[in-house]
Symmetry: C2
Subunit: 199 residues, 2 copies
Amino acid sequence: MEFRDVVEARRMVRNYTGAPVAAESLARILDAARRTPSAGNTQGQSFVVVTSESGRRRIAELAGESDYVERGFDPWISRAGALVVVCVSEAAYHQRYSEADKTDAEGNEIEWPIPFWWVDAGAAMMAILYGAVDEGLAAGFLGIHSIADLSAELGIPPEVTPIGIVTIGHPAPDRRSGSLDRGKRPIDEVIRYESWHPE
Amino acid sequence: MEFRDVVEARRMVRNYTGAPVAAESLARILDAARRTPSAGNTQGQSFVVVTSESGRRRIAELAGESDYVERGFDPWISRAGALVVVCVSEAAYHQRYSEADKTDAEGNEIEWPIPFWWVDAGAAMMAILYGAVDEGLAAGFLGIHSIADLSAELGIPPEVTPIGIVTIGHPAPDRRSGSLDRGKRPIDEVIRYESWHPE
């Protein structure tokens, strides 16, 4: 698909048919994720892909799918053909920035003005969301309250943090998120020219 | 451009011709940024676009362009036709998650398992990087050490944090980043199936 069409078609989809995601589609989506940038080329992002029915069910349970269903949503996590758990290792960034080309004159790691590991995880998440649409699929994203439980379920080591789950699948009619009723922020608040308060 | 071509063509470019970026291109790039998702549809991301020569020069100075040049890079910040400062308001997320549909039974804000404001800022950054390539342009990204100075320069209010600067312009030959010498992490470390340590 054209990039512009991907941008315009993309939205968070919270229901799927349950049909599997083709392996070739998944591979292309993950290739896009893998090509996203990272501070100092740390490449601190990793992805755990879950497609087995039992695995998807267990993650759906951990993510509180039954609560979603109680609140009137569809069982959108277990019905997604593929779940991609987006992970990032803060430790990898500290390690990278203790290398000679990144330390200061005294050999110290920089003080991070921004925790770029989360930023880079977000970049990877975005690539996956776009990549799914490009494959004619749909995607959603959810955070998870118990990161420890998700890590235990998937065997994710302590130095790696799963930031959330991208659901990917063949879209089915879904219930619109109540958050959308908030509408869009006025464009001149979101995009500003030359300074925050243009003269 | 096709999304796949954007994904494959995109790389961090650290030199530009100095030619201006067409207003229509910039508008489409920023439209993609504005359409990126945010937790609870908070829409905490904002963008300050700097295209004036004097503004670009001042930001380049704040970003330490002279240091880059001393290290053998081109003056890639001042030479970019447009700078997009990606900002996010953590406060906006706390405000959104104190609304009735997001608080717990006792009316309390959730404990954030992940600081999703940084994740959402990263998603917006990624959209801008892709959007630039889609317009036949190139883009780069840099963090900045003194966020306070950048905020002062642009009049960004204290509750909003500029996470860094996307440089956008017509590409010129650039010096390859030394970070690329690290190579790519092995794909089976980056992408894992069913669990971190597949059986």
